[in-house]
Symmetry: C2
Subunit: 496 residues, 2 copies
Amino acid sequence: MEPPNRWLRCTLMCLVVCSGFSSSACVLFGRRINNKLEAKISSQGCSHPHKEEYFEQQVDHFSFTNSDTFQMRYLVSDELWTKGGPIFFYTGNEGDITWFCQNTGFVWDLAVEYKAIVIFAEHRYYGKSLPYGNDSYKDAAHLGYLTAEQALADFAVFLDWYKANTRGGAAGSPVVAFGGSYGGMLAAWMRIKYPNAIAGAIAASAPVWQFTGLTPCNTQYLTISKDFQAANQLCYDSVHMSWDVITRIGQTASGRTKLAQAMKLCNPLKTTADVDGLISWLAGSWFNLAMVDYPYPANFLEPLPAFPIKEVCSYFKTPSPTDDQLLAELTGALGVYYNYTSSIQCFNLSQDATASLGDLGWSFQACTEMVMPFCADGVNDMFYSMPWNYDAQVAACKAQWNVTPRPNWIVSQFGGKNITASSNIFFSNGLLDPWHLGGVLTDLSDTLVVGIIPDGAHHLDLRGKNKLDPPSVIAVRNQERENINQWIAEWWVNKT
Amino acid sequence: MEPPNRWLRCTLMCLVVCSGFSSSACVLFGRRINNKLEAKISSQGCSHPHKEEYFEQQVDHFSFTNSDTFQMRYLVSDELWTKGGPIFFYTGNEGDITWFCQNTGFVWDLAVEYKAIVIFAEHRYYGKSLPYGNDSYKDAAHLGYLTAEQALADFAVFLDWYKANTRGGAAGSPVVAFGGSYGGMLAAWMRIKYPNAIAGAIAASAPVWQFTGLTPCNTQYLTISKDFQAANQLCYDSVHMSWDVITRIGQTASGRTKLAQAMKLCNPLKTTADVDGLISWLAGSWFNLAMVDYPYPANFLEPLPAFPIKEVCSYFKTPSPTDDQLLAELTGALGVYYNYTSSIQCFNLSQDATASLGDLGWSFQACTEMVMPFCADGVNDMFYSMPWNYDAQVAACKAQWNVTPRPNWIVSQFGGKNITASSNIFFSNGLLDPWHLGGVLTDLSDTLVVGIIPDGAHHLDLRGKNKLDPPSVIAVRNQERENINQWIAEWWVNKT
């Protein structure tokens, strides 16, 4: 194994700037849409008629040095609504809002039941909601308004306007916020900061406590390791072994040639830095896989079979494998994640570096407010020594964006673990999800309530109903219904 | 009477830009300190040993286009504190923090009882907390960070730092926020937005609902009129009559000479615009007087006798007075407000135009977020027709600061009248106070509680105890103690 710093450098760079190779955190918060399967996805959500509209927003809500405005996109469907019905509001996260609309079938399922208006609001600087058009990502002067607080203010101002201008009868209707992942954090924070605007929030797989000082940095890789171990111990052992094997082989030019060939890489590994990149890409692949370990075939990050970790792990069959055996098994396993539809000939380590706007935007957010420490030690987990190095992140952020992270700000702004003065938030978490230990896992009060999906991955509950749904996700969705019912009832009581 | 627009123009300009002549709103939110009486004031508050310290703050908490920082001043006294004691935190408003410290004796009285740490935090852009030094007020590019949200973020970040770095045992202590007037709004908003940071808030005379669409614009002048009427009807009638008399006399050059002489003005009235200024200054004087109608001699805006409205009204003795009689009585009455200490020879209408930084800062806030409509009709009140003209305000703000007000933002940001999801705020209001009808006057929930001081003016309860305190203010202070006790108890329960 190389010295920790060597791995660290790349992993941090990847997290921070999302360049070169994918890393777990980048991929999570800046997912790519697979256009080929869009039609299939569409059947899960966004399936009811809806309009794409725009609303003018201040670029800067909190100061008066800049009076620029921009057009925030939102999708709205009011055809299911009948008088007295609520408004279901998805707090868009780091990506094109149509993709979240397509992947959040639960909101559409509920909209039918509740006869609700459905709104998916796009997060500024993603999708088509670009404050400065093609210049939005030019530099920090243009991009600096990409913050969670500005986005929440967008949502609050929008809701006030929408309710005042929507068709009669909905002006007083309760709004329920929904969101998954960073969107779930936004939904929870929306209720914390704008309880006037929304009656309650479904915060699915929202790692609101994955910040400095709140949660140990090793939780994500620990969970992934457990997921693999649960599939079978040999799988865990083989992955655990793979880092040293790849590093050792990759030390020589001939070894790197062999690696690239054995692992069906599209491009050669020219240097040991390229080998670092391969390792980082591999770790990110397992991270992503754990997030989307759904009980039925799905295409969230990639088209995948049901329970893809089991499928991946089925490739590891040889105890104490030779190098060649291990590389062959590893490559077969990777195919489950990257090539389930047999559409690619080789693995392209830089495929995430085509930098959809989502990736780039999240890298900026990770360099400013969203400082979420992560680490592994390779002893208690199946990864390698990857200590959290904040100074390296600061340097990388300075180099990439000329910004300095404010690692304590989110905790000051949103209350950290001291949020019991707030109410009406339902935190759901799947225990297979690498992010769940950064979430809220026990009830904090009568109205800050938790739903656990033991066999659920990343916000499984937000997906549309499926005949293969495990009972646990059905139960949590019913808990969510109960909470929504309470919030709506309370809203009407307070209005009278 | 001149056409409404004529008066309107000046009143608006004065509200907005605080130039030329004082107006009520300007004076309220940008008070001047009378240095002569500072020693006397000091006995009311700030009397315990305290240190003046500074804390580095981001100029812009909510975006990353500007990484400048500045030094926020705060006064801190921890000599009264013993382990287990709370932290009392004054959310500084639009002025030098030492002045608020001196005029908020109640916090010091409580600190002795509760063995509390006392902190008075200065609001950015006031006193010595100038983000850009002498350039702070140069233009909107420098001044644009003067907003309530930025100030609240200052307080939240400061408190997190202070609690982490204060002497042992206070890190977990509950913080109770205090504030009066705009400071009371900040205290309430602090609890609404940062309930993690503070256990509860005493919001004294906080017109949190004096915003567009929440409260009729005529409430302030209506209350002032009632205050004068309560002193005696003749007083009300004489003031009511005075506007027409002054306007009529002021139409000619000789009339203006006579006016200036009769009313002991320092400077001549050269034009009818100057006469408008006189009228605006007069209206502002009565506004201020109503705010400080305290039951004992005090020096909040000016050195004044006990119940100064009664004293002022005692000068109006002649029913159906001649012009000369009315002007003489008016001038005598004005002397109560401006010359109680007999230290001036003439009235200087532009004395508030020396523009302490406080005045100028508030004028910017009124041009951006703090759009608080006001009006009078001269029929239901003792003033003159002064309709609210938002367009004129917009134009004036554009001319003065090159900014456009956002009249609905404060309501979107802080919830308007829909704040029952929040908790632990005590709203006190004196019914003599011109601002009280813009405040919260009935309990909103078990923990959003109201205290009414029927014979109290502007945040009388925040002043130090006085042997002439009416029973009503003593009762409200005891209510405040009870609420503070509950908040503190709840805080410790939640911590265990």
